[in-house]
């Protein structure tokens, strides 16, 4: 109970501040402060899970956390705190450039961002499949308001696509959830949606309903995670949303959907259909990784590039889930989120400086803003899995795991996709860094603009060079 209150407290305060029409400049200072406080509260509340004797905490009947979900909870709040701290400088720049649509839009942005964060927190707290579904649908509804921040035609189109595609996709996950409920009624007359009870009686569940339910949930949550070919909403939404919102979408929302898939995969692996829960995610993950790396090659939008790179990482994470390693999934999610948030935040700045999203028109960033350019190189290297960054270690571990479980074909296609993705991303990054821009930079970036991305890159570096990865693997 204490945990639920602790988690809801700060988002409620932010929403109240927004409703009482606190000025924009005050909000820019207050929101980051409050969110770092929220992160501290969550770390404090979830600490017993990692240090205590019992690795789970039950909250009421339908909520609870274990080590994996506690780690995701912390990660989500790190992402939110970094993104919204950076949002302060982002919006200040927008104002300088005169891009702000209306001052009240910024307040509404913070309002929905707080609700969005709370909904994501509840995804990780739910141990009831029904509440899990409700929270994930709530994240769609709240984040749609973030995507619509730009208030122009493109933002509108992206929001509409996002809302409709994800709602219909998620409806299929509801069907899957119902089928799991039906499956449970064959051994527990009243039926249950509690993932712990389902796991305990996994072998007595009706097999046909379990299979169907799993497929539908994979389809539904897979739409939300952006798996090929259900990814159509993702590049549009990520590209049209303001940079801090793109960072939150990519760094935390995708994890929510994958987390739901992970929970269900773990459950199905305990039934007699373990092969289904291995082969389908591994194959689909490989397919997603391969196709998205192809999309990376001919890309015209800077943020679309990072969106497709997110899809590539989603594919890798799904494969890690399919290989039966939630720990590797968590590690890949941490590395991807940290680096991708840095990239989206930097891209927001770059778009402000150059005044365009078009990759063919952005040139000479190194000259316009050396600090920004160097951080961009670090972040891009971290996201493509260059040593010594954390994602290199994790991707290496995933490849080892794949080969040792006999999924050689998957390992080969993953390697090919990673290589292609790396080449494509580095070509694009080099193109925008060097060369001469015909236009004068519209803005001079100071150190404060690269502070948070740089800190995130250092975190990613720590994940690789210190023994942090092994430590996390040990704890889980």
């Amino acid at each position: 109970m204490k945990i639920l209150l602790g988690i809801c407290l700060i988002p409620t305060i932010i929403c109240l501040l927004c409703l009482f029409k606190v000025s924009n400049s005050a909000m820019r200072k207050l929101v980051p402060f409050l969110l770092w406080v929220e992160l501290a509260i969550i770390c404090f509340l979830t600490a017993p899970v990692f240090t205590g004797i019992s690795s789970t905490i039950d909250i009421l009947a339908d909520f609870g956390i274990d080590r994996i979900s506690a780690a995701f909870l912390i990660l989500t709040n790190v992402v939110a705190a970094s993104s919204l701290s950076h949002a302060a400088v982002f919006f200040a720049n927008e104002r300088k450039l005169g891009n702000l649509t209306a001052p009240s839009n910024e307040i509404w942005f913070y309002f929905y961002a707080a609700l969005f964060l709370a909904a994501m927190d509840f995804v990780f707290l739910s141990v009831n499949l029904g509440f899990l579904w409700i929270s994930i649908e709530a994240t769609t509804l709240f984040s749609a308001a973030l995507v619509y921040y730009g208030r122009d035609k493109h933002a509108l189109e992206a929001t509409w696509k996002y809302l409709i595609v994800c709602s219909v996709g998620i409806a299929f996950a509801l069907l899957g959830t119902i089928l799991f409920f039906a499956a449970s009624q064959f051994c527990i007359p009243a039926g249950t949606l509690d993932i712990r009870t389902l796991t305990a009686s996994a072998r007595q569940l009706q097999p046909k309903f379990v299979q169907l339910g799993y497929i539908f949930c994979l389809l539904g949550y897979g739409t939300k995670a952006g798996l090929f070919p259900l990814h159509t909403w993702l590049p549009d939404a990520h590209s049209e949303a303001p940079a801090p919102a793109s960072a939150m979408l990519s760094g935390s929302l995708l994890n929510c959907a994958l987390f739901a898939i992970c929970r269900l995969t773990e459950l199905v692996k305990l039934t007699d259909h373990a092969a289904l829960a291995t082969n389908v995610p591994v194959f689909w993950g490989a397919l997603t990784t391969l196709t998205s790396s192809l999309f990376l090659v001919h890309q015209i939008g800077l943020k679309r590039l990072w969106a497709y790179s997110s899809i590539e990482n989603v594919g890798i994470m799904l494969s890690a889930i399919g290989l039966g390693s939630p720990a590797l999934f968590l590690l890949q999610a941490i590395n991807h989120s940290i680096a991708k948030v840095a990239l989206f935040l930097l891209s927001g700045n770059i778009i402000q400086v150059s005044g365009t999203k078009n990759l063919h028109q952005i040139r000479g960033i190194l000259k316009a803003s050396p600090a920004c350019a160097l951080t961009l190189i670090l972040a891009a290297a971290a996201v493509t899995g260059m040593p010594p960054f954390g994602s290199f270690v994790v991707e290496w571990l995933i490849l080892l795991k794949a080969v040792s479980t006999g999924q050689t074909l998957f390992a080969v296609s993953l390697l090919a996709a990673l290589a292609m993705g790396f080449i494509a991303v580095s070509t694009h990054v080099c193109n925008i860094l060097f060369g001469a821009s015909g236009k004068e930079p519209r803005l001079v970036l100071s150190k404060i603009h690269v502070l948070i991305p740089l800190l995130l890159c250092i975190c990613s570096l720590c994940m690789g060079v210190t023994g942090l990865t092994q430590e996390i693997l040990g704890i889980l």
Binding site: F131, I134, E137, T140, Y148, W160, L175, K208, P235
Partner: protein, 216 residues
């Protein structure tokens, strides 16, 4: 074959869903959708009476209030405000999509027959057939219509189908979960409605077939 009263109601509602494909007039579509949802609410109430499960009465009432009354009224209010009485046209002609729907109707019976049933849990395969066929007709509606409002109607029909499957395969989800789902739906319809207003304002139409600016 003995049909139970709630199964009759659900199958009838699946037929109504199929009929809705035959008209491009929004008023007709919304009225048929409203009637279809009313039949589902009736089926829920009948089931509540038969099983003595009082939670189902609450759910039936909530479905009737929100899905059969509020949502169609909200959508028809939008259509009046935006003077969009009928769809701009469908990617499939109406007769063709009705025929397709009939074929899928048969298919859903074949599919539902395969579902495992147990008497103890009160599973009914006819109800599942009705649910699957509603789901599929909702999908056809969403895929073939161009008007943004019709898309929302299609989404609600899909949701009706899923609810029907839940009702007949599991005797309904737990009350708290069902209420949460309805709340989410309510917000989704509201958000979609607001967006439709904005689309009309920026684009001066609500034809989603023309929203194709964003692509790779």
């Amino acid at each position: 074959m003995n049909l139970l009263p709630h199964e009759v109601s659900l199958l009838f509602s699946a037929v109504v869903a199929c009929l809705a494909l035959g008209s491009l007039h929004l008023k007709v579509n919304l009225a048929l959708f409203s009637f279809q949802t009313f039949l589902i609410a009736v089926a829920t109430a009948i089931l509540a009476h038969v099983t003595g499960d009082h939670e189902l009465y609450v759910i039936a009432l909530a479905i009737f209030g929100f899905k059969a009354l509020a949502a169609p009224h909200f959508l028809s209010w939008i259509s009046e405000k935006l003077t969009a009485p009928r769809d701009y046209g469908a990617f499939l002609p109406a007769p063709l999509s009705m025929h397709l729907c009939l074929v899928l109707f048969v298919l859903s019976f074949a599919l539902a027959r395969e579902l495992p049933t147990s008497q103890a849990a009160g599973h009914s395969w006819l109800g599942a057939a009705a649910g699957i066929s509603m789901l599929l007709s909702g999908l056809i509606l969403m895929l073939t219509r161009r008007l943004a409002i019709s898309q929302v109607v299609g989404f609600l029909v899909i949701e009706n189908g899923i609810y029907t499957i839940a009702l007949t395969q599991t005797r309904g989800m737990p009350l708290m979960v069902e209420m949460g789902i309805l709340l989410d739906l309510l917000v989704a319809v509201m958000v979609a409605g607001l967006l439709i207003f904005k689309i009309q304002k920026s684009f001066e139409h609500i034809d989603i077939a023309q929203l194709t600016d964003l692509r790779d």
